[in-house]
């Protein structure tokens, strides 16, 4: 939506193609917090850049990090001009300091991410943007080596739609559903943006790197993976215990997401785990101290424990008993390689938001995800619109063959269910790649993926065109398999290198990878599998 606004501001005619109803991406489940470096005199863009580089293990791309810092204030201003309200006390923003930030510099939103998504939606609706909802892009169309639009499936009607465009911006979000159900992400995020970009000729960077939240619900089944708190939500007295009741981690609330997840994972691989494979967050000590009670009330006030109430009941919700938790996938760190204006290196193709890679490196600071969406969304949209004015619309008259008719996927009479195959693949990813990987687990994952790939050629789908989820899932599965191939390739390369970024591109039908050394000079540190 930010990219659409950036393009409209430059006078472009824009079609916004959304797989879900408009405004239902991950922004909606976010906390609505957005960093603004340099807002207070004791802060500066340079300090923010240092914090991002440190969090990212110095494998983030310096130019992209500097772009985020430089244009953050402009992006937040544009967000407010679009109708969003950041919280202010008197005339100053109310700021917080999420883990990893050296100083308080993060703006907070009324109504969290929902209001931010709604504000962007309103701003887009206010403009003359063509909005196409529940329409899934299946392929980027090219004329020679130049991207000229997109082939898409109207999920509601089953019709094939071709969009002709002088410029195309991918803003499809991440791939949280890779590890479904161990994710707090929206369930539409199967990572097809990565496959679309790769097939069009773009490169993918560090696609194997993902960020977890430490506390996810493990039970009941339907709520598995839903987030139930940041490290700070454990309160000053919160501890992590194993299934035998032994305290294995103290001072939980002082750790960053990455530190806590890393330490939890080491214990998850041992045998003293709960019945659902998790560890126990015991927050009961908070009720015995003033600071603990205060912390509990603050986090409860913003709804951080709501999922605990529904999943585990009121005793856990009131911190009167320990409850089982498991880290849950939160953010895809890697993605499409871009430059400072969101260009991918493929003519006419841009990318912005979580689908891109290189901004965060090996880990992400809280409140920078929405910020980079805004910065690169506005910039990519604006740049694309300016350049679009210089080129003629593409001629796609030749796109008439059967491969451009998505009806071929309806009414297939094979043996396998796509929904089942997707579940098997995501379960394998969780098992062999989720928390740790080694050459054996990579081999198992590779084998499973090959079998799923074979099965995906022998699929059963119903013939009805209207809202056919089986066909939608089939198209998602095909993209996901391509993404998993890149992840396996990246993991294999990473196991041979002790630092740097992994960049993958496609050479014909084969993947080709390279190691990109970090560019932060002496600051660069060894990246570990943590």
């Amino acid at each position: 939506m930010a990219a659409a606004l950036g393009a409209v501001e430059q006078g472009a005619q824009v079609s916004l193609v959304c797989k879900e109803p408009i405004g239902y991406g991950n922004t909606r489940i976010s906390g609505g917090i957005v960093a603004q470096p340099g807002y207070f005199p004791e802060d500066s863009c340079e300090k923010f850049i240092d914090d991002m580089a440190k969090a990212g293990g110095y494998i983030n791309e310096p130019q992209l990090v500097r772009t985020v810092a430089k244009y953050a204030a402009d992006a937040n201003q544009m967000l407010e001009a679009s109708g969003h309200l950041f919280q202010r006390e008197d005339q100053d923003y109310a700021v917080i300091q999420p883990g990893g930030h050296g100083v308080p510099r993060t703006l907070t939103s009324y109504g969290q991410g929902i209001q931010l998504a709604n504000a962007l939606r309103s701003a887009v609706l206010k403009c003359n943007v063509e909005i196409v909802e529940e329409c899934m892009v299946v392929e980027l169309l090219k004329v020679g080596s130049v991207v000229a639009g997109a082939l898409a499936l109207d999920i509601t009607t089953g019709e094939t739609v071709i969009f002709k465009a002088a410029k195309t911006i991918i803003a499809t979000g991440g791939a949280g559903c890779l590890l479904y159900p161990h994710t707090d992400n929206m369930l539409s995020l199967w990572g097809e943006g990565y496959a679309l970009a790769l097939s069009a000729g773009a490169s993918l960077r560090d696609l194997d790197l993902i960020q977890f939240l430490p506390f996810g619900i493990v039970w009941p089944n339907g709520m598995e993976g839903i987030g139930c708190g940041e490290p700070g939500a454990a309160g000053p007295e919160g501890v992590i215990k194993d299934a035998a009741g032994q305290v294995i981690l103290n001072r939980v609330n002082t750790l960053t997401r990455g530190e806590l997840v890393s330490r939890m994972c080491k214990n998850l691989l041992k045998d003293k785990v709960g019945p659902h494979g998790g560890l126990y967050l015991d927050p009961t000590g908070n009720l015995e101290t003033e600071a603990g009670v205060k912390s509990y009330r603050q986090w409860k006030e913003i709804g951080a424990y709501d999922s605990i109430k529904l999943a585990y009941g009121t005793k856990a919700y009131h911190f009167q008993e320990a409850f089982e938790v498991l880290p849950t996938q939160h953010f895809t760190l890697g993605g499409v390689v871009i430059n400072q204006t969101g260009e991918t290196g493929v003519t006419n193709l841009y990318a912005a938001g979580e689908v891109t890679g290189g901004i965060h490196g090996a880990d992400r600071l809280g409140s920078v995800a929405l910020l980079e969406c805004m910065v690169f969304g506005f910039r990519a949209g604006g740049h694309a619109a300016k350049k679009a004015a210089l080129v003629n619309g593409p001629d796609l008259a030749h796109l008439t063959g059967p491969q451009y008719q998505l009806k071929q996927y309806y009414g297939r009479t094979g043996s396998y269910s796509t929904i089942r195959l997707l579940k098997i693949l995501s379960a394998s990813l969780w098992r062999y790649y989720g928390f740790s990987s080694c050459s054996y687990s990579l081999m198992k994952l590779k084998r499973t993926t090959e079998i799923i790939k074979q099965c995906s050629e022998n699929i059963k789908t119903s013939a009805g065109l209207t809202y056919n989820t089986e066909v939608q899932r089939l198209l998602e599965l095909k993209k996901l398999i391509e993404v998993v191939d890149v992840i396996i390739y990246s993991l294999a390369l990473r196991s041979k290198a002790d630092k740097g970024s992994i960049v993958i591109s496609k050479n014909g039908n084969e993947l080709a990878g390279s190691l990109l050394p970090g560019s932060w000079g002496d600051e660069q540190v060894v990246h570990t599998s943590d």
Partner: protein
């Protein structure tokens, strides 16, 4: 094992909706969405549902549960429940209703801040009513529950739009006469009703309808 009844309907294929019975396995304390997902993943992959966040944030999994509009990810499952699409909205397929009219609704009635975006709104400028109304998840349960709306083609626009107008009425940046707008859209119909229901606990009548009527 438990029973879940789902109203199935594909307008282009079926003459009328029909009830299908499924034997489902749901975790103790599990939600209706878990039961519906069990059907879709294991029993009948042709079932159409729309659900994406799995816990309270998106509002897209709103359905009719035993004749009441509810959010399926926030409603505990029990055997024998009957689930159908939201009433008084066009059905695309099974539990999926058509929401595409919302874009036209927003644009036609300018349901976004009109006015000076440069005003710095501080915490004290925002009323409790505004803070209550921003909890709206656009689930459309209020439209499905409205007794004044007769059906899909009802002339009465319903409480959802009044909630959005009230939100703008309380927004210090908006410079439009939202009360007048609400009157022209028939808010008088709501005067003696007060039966709006919101699964997120928003008091629509108290915090949106009455302020626009007064």
């Amino acid at each position: 094992m438990s029973i879940l009844l789902i109203e199935r309907f594909e307008p282009k294929v079926d003459l009328k909706p029909y009830l299908a019975e499924y034997v489902v396995k749901v975790s103790p304390g599990g939600t209706v969405l878990e039961a519906i997902s069990y059907v879709r993943e294991r029993l009948d992959t042709t079932l159409a549902i729309r659900a994406t966040c799995r816990f309270k944030n998106c509002g897209l999994c709103a359905v009719t549960i035993d004749d009441n509009p509810k959010i399926s990810c926030l409603t505990r499952f029990k055997s024998g429940l009957k689930v159908g699409p939201l009433k008084k909205l066009p059905v695309i397929k099974d539990l999926v209703v058509d929401r595409r009219f919302l874009i036209a609704l927003f644009r036609t009635h300018q349901l976004y801040v009109m006015g000076n975006g440069d005003i710095k709104v501080t915490d004290s400028d925002l009323s409790e009513k505004w803070r209550s109304l921003i909890k709206c998840r656009d689930c459309l349960c209020c439209l499905a529950a409205c007794p004044k709306r007769q059906g899909i083609n009802s002339d009465f626009i319903g409480p959802y739009i009044f909630l959005k107008l009230a939100l703008l009425h309380f927004d210090p940046r908006d410079n439009q006469d939202r009360k007048k707008q609400a009157q022209s859209l028939g808010i008088e119909n709501c005067k003696d009703c007060g039966q709006c229901r919101c699964p997120y606990g928003i008091l629509i009548f108290k915090n949106a309808v009455i302020p626009l009527l007064s």
